[in-house]
């Protein structure tokens, strides 16, 4: 029987579709054939289809699935889909959000600002005129025991003349970074002078001493590198460690046995882990510690660094120009060659050299890389020419005649002996600095601190660390604060009664990540007269005694 005529025998495909698809197929084949080597692929597909037709079906499905998957997921990885919210809800949230004030309340630190001495003449001189608290307190001809210009060479008229001549030839600013015409002939000369004076291959100048460590260490470290640092190093090094991206370990302050044990452990671990490439490893310490004024056992550190294949970085901000027979720093103090024993030396021109800026000493290839990789060098303007020529001249003077370094050492020794040997002071204060340090650091003894302020170095550190883990920025700790105020009373007493200006070692608690305790600094300058130094020592001693006694009475 014939099927009804209404139903066609087959589904009619419009002619144009048939024709166009056959054209398409024809051109596709042609296009595929035109690709060199395509015949092999076509052959392969044909053969595989003949052998196993199911495989072709599976593969076609896979390809289709791949295309759908690719189109459906517009690569949203990484972008977190938040909860869907209506505009109204978003607006409510935006409206609700209240930021904290940009800076914390200044009233708790106001007393610190009031105590900052404002110098009215040269702050490098042995005697200065000082006002405080917006001019409410005035002191003239005060004996200066707070200046960092220890050698005081840059106050001499001949050096000042050189600085002035430089300004008359070069102007004040260098108006450009070192890479872009900012480095002048005098900069290059100073780098040469520094390298020659301190016995290294090369030196690199920086605009500010505090930034150097945080710039030079990250320039050479990356993830996976190892840094072993002294646990009393100053904030500039702490910042550097934070920026270094490396694994940081601390060893107990100047304890070489603990250090060796740590290095031993690290070495064993390295052997086990079989790293793909040798990491860079550094030991980091300071020449004269910023917070305590003592000296690290360099010979032992150098021995360890050689044994365990580390590099040694020493921050000599305070020790260059002070330590060593001729002021060449800690390596000379221990009679060691600098180039062979210390890999990176960080120095400041704002301390003993009495100028401004800082520098890094080391070998040629390290210096060369620093000039490109160290941010504070490449992205910052060069030093003003006059500070550079001043430093050059001071170095030249030191090279010619180093009696001034010896004079400074004599005064430092006398000062140290006075404070550390005094029977009356011994139960009250503890001198932490070395006898050769021209900055005398002293702090209250453990007992005194506990008795008076009911905390210890350890408990303070615990408290700071706890705050740190909670990201509390306003680290206001009452007992610490009152000890700082107490120490400030000693400074005030010495200033009011004896006309001697000393200073607290100023900290910012919230930036300190290592144990600290409040302390006082007495600096001596090489041009200070003997009787002046004794007057200062006497004054400070009486100040300590009387402040301790009065607070005991009131307590």
């Amino acid at each position: 029987m014939q099927p009804p005529a209404v139903l066609p025998s087959s589904i009619v495909v419009p002619d144009f579709i048939l024709r166009s698809s056959s054209y398409l197929w024809y051109y596709c084949q042609n296009a595929v054939n035109a690709i060199p080597g395509s015949s092999y692929v076509v052959d392969y597909v044909k053969r595989s289809h003949q052998q196993d037709p199911y495989r072709t079906i599976v593969e076609v499905f896979l390809i289709i699935y791949g295309i759908i998957y690719f189109l459906r997921n517009p690569r949203k990885q990484g972008v977190q889909e938040g909860p869907k919210m209506s505009t109204k809800e978003v607006d409510a949230l935006l409206d609700e959000w209240q930021p904290e004030p940009l800076a914390q309340d200044a009233s708790t630190v106001e007393w610190r600002t009031k105590k900052i001495p404002v110098v009215l003449n040269s702050s490098s001189g042995s005697h200065v005129d000082v006002v405080r608290n917006d001019g409410a307190e005035r002191y003239s001809d005060v004996l200066n025991c707070a200046s960092n210009n220890f050698l005081q060479l840059s106050c001499e008229p001949s050096v000042i003349k050189i600085a002035k001549d430089t300004i008359q030839n070069y102007g004040v600013g260098a108006c450009g970074p070192a890479g872009f015409y900012g480095n002048q002939d005098v900069h290059n000369h100073l780098e040469y002078d520094l390298a020659r004076f301190f016995g290294t291959e090369n030196a690199v100048l920086y605009g500010q001493d505090f930034c150097i460590a945080a710039s030079v260490i990250p320039a050479f470290t990356k993830r996976g590198d190892v840094i072993v640092a002294d646990n009393k190093c100053s904030v500039s090094l702490q910042n550097a460690l934070q920026l270094s991206r490396s694994t940081v370990y601390y060893f107990d302050h100047n304890d070489t046995e603990a250090l060796e044990e740590l290095l031993q452990q690290l070495q064993e671990r390295d052997l086990k882990e079989k790293l793909p490439a040798l990491p860079r490893k550094f030991i980091i310490t300071e020449g004269l510690f910023h917070n305590s004024g003592d000296i690290p056992p360099l010979p032992k550190l150098v021995e360890l660094k050689r044994k365990y294949k580390y590099r040694l970085l020493v921050d000599e901000t305070f020790s260059l120009g002070v330590l060593g027979a001729t002021g060449r720093g800690i390596t000379e103090y221990f009679n060691m060659p600098r180039q062979e024993s210390v890999d990176i030396t960080i120095g400041s021109m704002a301390t003993a050299l009495g100028s401004s800026g800082g520098f890094v000493l080391g070998d040629n290839s390290m210096s060369l890389h620093q000039r490109i990789g160290s941010h504070a060098y490449t992205f910052s303007a060069s030093l003003p020419a006059f500070t550079v020529t001043t430093a050059s001249e001071v170095l030249r003077r030191l090279d010619e005649d180093n009696s001034i370094v010896q004079r400074l050492r004599l005064l430092s020794n006398q000062m140290h002996e006075f404070f550390s040997q005094d029977k009356e002071l011994q139960p009250l204060i503890e001198v932490t600095s070395d006898k050769d340090s021209c900055v005398l650091h002293f702090r209250l003894t453990e007992d005194m601190r506990f008795k008076k302020f009911h905390y210890t170095e350890e408990s303070l550190f615990e408290e700071i660390s706890a705050m740190h883990t909670k990201y509390l920025t306003n680290k206001h700790i009452e007992s610490y604060e009152s000890e700082e105020k107490f120490l400030q009373q000693i400074v005030d007493y010495a200033l009011k009664e004896y006309n001697v200006l000393i200073s607290r070692n100023t900290f910012v608690l919230k930036h300190e990540t290592l144990p600290v305790t409040p302390s006082l600094k007495v600096c001596c300058g090489a041009q200070m007269a003997d009787q002046d130094l004794f007057r200062a020592c006497d004054g400070v001693k009486t100040a300590i005694l009387s402040v301790v006694n009065t607070t005991q009475e009131t307590a």
Partner: protein, 562 residues
């Protein structure tokens, strides 16, 4: 690498010249009153979306090809060198059990690409970097591995120093003040600010700066980089958010990293992206915990030193007020150089400085001194005086630098020698506009806004950098070439830093030579959509016509697209 310190730059004796010559060489006298331009304040009007000119594809392809060839050659060089010349490649190989200072991969760019053109960087100079700069000649050896110095110098027209207002001078009021302060205060400042580094001069400068920028109080620091790098950790913590322009300076990035705060970057000057980002961040809060942010700080630069673009301050202020964020503007390049009174971006846009929470800037550029400042409300500064690491641990600013700053500030503000500051401001405005429009008309691709004294001219192919730099040096013009990583990979450029100390004739001289060199190096690739064209066709004006017509035309904003 060879030892650099063995070949020493010679100290150059001062050339004998008369006082007048010397003055003119440091600061060219104004040749005509026509060549002054008073900047128009925008009265709160935001910037239009910038039009970026793009070259044709072959330029881009050639640039990539250029890099490809350099990289292949460099790799080949490395391979052969490390196989056959081990002693020359000590510093990238392990030695005595110590890892190299830098790995082969990290230093590849520096050793194999930058070293080839090292003679274009760090050219030693002497004397004042004023209108002319005295470059010390050097001869390169072994592909820039070391230099020797024949002891001669070349005086070049200076378009390289950040001497925007021409205060780099060896005589005049500023220098006199600097000399005087050395007599009174000595050379160095004696210690950290909180110990003995504060002089009355510091407070005086701070008050002046605060008054100049229009904030309640300010602080000064001895280095601009350091003021940024050690600022953010005192006000921010990991529970805060920083929204930062992608092209912000390294010092800001370092500072932000030190603070531990979360950073989100937005596309350069793109305000829509910024708004969306702020909204998203306030709504979603901190990552993981989704607690609200403690504070949100928007960080931008006033004038971007590599692009010549400015932040869109009116829009930023609007967003900041709308969403209760804080705004930080780094005016390192804009303070002094931008605005009718030279008071930076706020002055330029006619916006009250009270809308910007923290204004940072440097004295290195416009003021011919050194160091930086941070200006903000009094309660913020009061707290920062005790909280910043710089004030507590770092050296203070040397007095001579402060005196230079103070005096130049007073001159700009018109308190000293009235008229001089105004002339300097109007000269830099004219010079910037003239140079920019003229370059556009000649057919170069130039980035940035009309009034910016930073004029970047795009070179693209990296090998054109040394060619341009060396050819300009032969023509006694000192310019700066910059490339990756300071710019995007293919956008190598030369940066002209315009100064008030240049005369119109100096710029004509520059233009004639840039025109010649541009023809030789095929640098005229602009399409005209970013200005310079009158009929919509790619502008390729004749140099004489440019010099004849541009001084008058450059006063009119219609010729600039941006």
């Amino acid at each position: 690498m060879s030892s650099i310190s063995n070949t020493r730059v010679p100290l150059v004796d001062k050339a004998e010249e008369s006082v007048e010559d010397r003055k003119a060489n440091e600061f060219g006298p104004l040749t005509s009153k026509q060549f002054l331009y008073e900047v128009r304040s925008r009265d709160g009007e935001p910037l239009n979306d910038p039009i970026l000119d793009t070259p044709s594809y072959y330029v881009v392809v050639i640039t990539y090809l250029n890099y490809l060839i350099l990289i292949i050659l460099g790799q080949l060089h490395d391979f052969l060198g490390m196989t056959f010349q081990k002693e020359k490649h000590q510093d990238i190989m392990e030695k005595d059990g110590l890892a190299p200072w830098f790995s082969k991969f990290e230093s590849f760019y520096v050793r194999r690409l930058k070293l080839r053109i090292d003679d274009c960087f760090s050219r030693p100079t002497t004397g004042v970097p004023g209108r002319f700069i005295t470059c010390i000649d050097r001869i390169s050896h072994e592909l820039n591995r070391y230099y020797t110095y024949p002891g001669t110098t070349t005086m070049c027209l200076n378009l390289s120093s950040y001497n925007y207002l021409g205060f780099a001078q060896s005589e005049g009021l500023c220098t006199a003040a600097a000399l005087e302060s050395i007599d009174k205060y000595g050379i160095c400042a004696g210690g950290p600010r909180t110990q003995l580094g504060t002089m009355d001069l510091h407070y005086e400068t701070e008050k002046l700066v605060a008054r100049f920028v229009g904030k309640e109080d300010a602080m000064v620091f001895s280095q601009g980089y350091g003021s940024n790098a050690n600022f953010f950790n005192s006000i921010l913590d990991p529970k805060c958010l920083i929204i930062s322009d992608e092209l912000n300076h390294t010092s800001i990035r370092t500072g932000v990293r030190l603070s531990g705060a979360t950073v989100k970057a937005f596309k350069h000057n793109n305000m829509e992206v910024l708004e969306k980002l702020i909204k998203d961040q306030i709504v979603s809060g901190q990552p993981k915990t989704h607690r609200p942010w403690k504070k949100i700080l928007i960080c931008v630069e006033g004038l971007f030193s590599m692009e010549g673009t400015m932040c869109n301050l009116p829009k930023l202020v609007e967003l900041k007020n709308k969403y209760k964020c804080y705004l930080f503007v780094d005016e390192a390049h804009s303070i002094g150089a931008i605005g009718r009174h030279g008071r930076g971006v706020c002055d330029y846009f006619g916006i009250s400085p009270s809308n910007v929470d923290i204004m940072m800037g440097t004295f290195t550029k416009s003021f011919g001194a050194a160091g930086g400042y941070i200006a903000a409300d009094k309660n913020i500064i009061d707290r920062l005086r005790c909280d910043l690491t710089t004030t507590n641990y770092s050296e203070s600013v040397p007095p001579a630098v402060l005196s230079q700053t103070c005096t130049s500030l007073r001159i700009i503000a018109g308190e000293l020698n009235p008229g001089e500051g105004l002339e300097r401001l109007q000269r830099i405005a004219f010079n910037s506009r003239y140079l920019r429009l003229a370059l556009k008309r000649l057919g170069f691709i130039v980035y940035g806004i009309a009034d910016s004294p930073v004029v970047p001219l795009l070179l693209y192919a990296p090998s054109k950098m040394p060619a341009f730099s060396r050819m300009m040096l032969q023509r006694k013009i000192a310019i700066v070439v910059v490339a990756y990583p300071a710019t995007p990979l293919i956008e190598s450029r030369v940066r002209f830093c315009v100064s008030s100390s240049l005369t119109k004739e100096d710029i004509d001289y520059l233009l004639r030579h840039v025109n010649e060199v541009g023809d030789k190096l095929f640098l005229k690739v602009s399409t005209g959509k970013a200005g310079g064209s009158l009929d919509g066709k790619p502008p390729r004006w004749d140099i004489d016509e440019v010099i004849r017509r541009t001084p008058a035309d450059c006063r009119d904003d219609q010729y600039f697209a941006n």
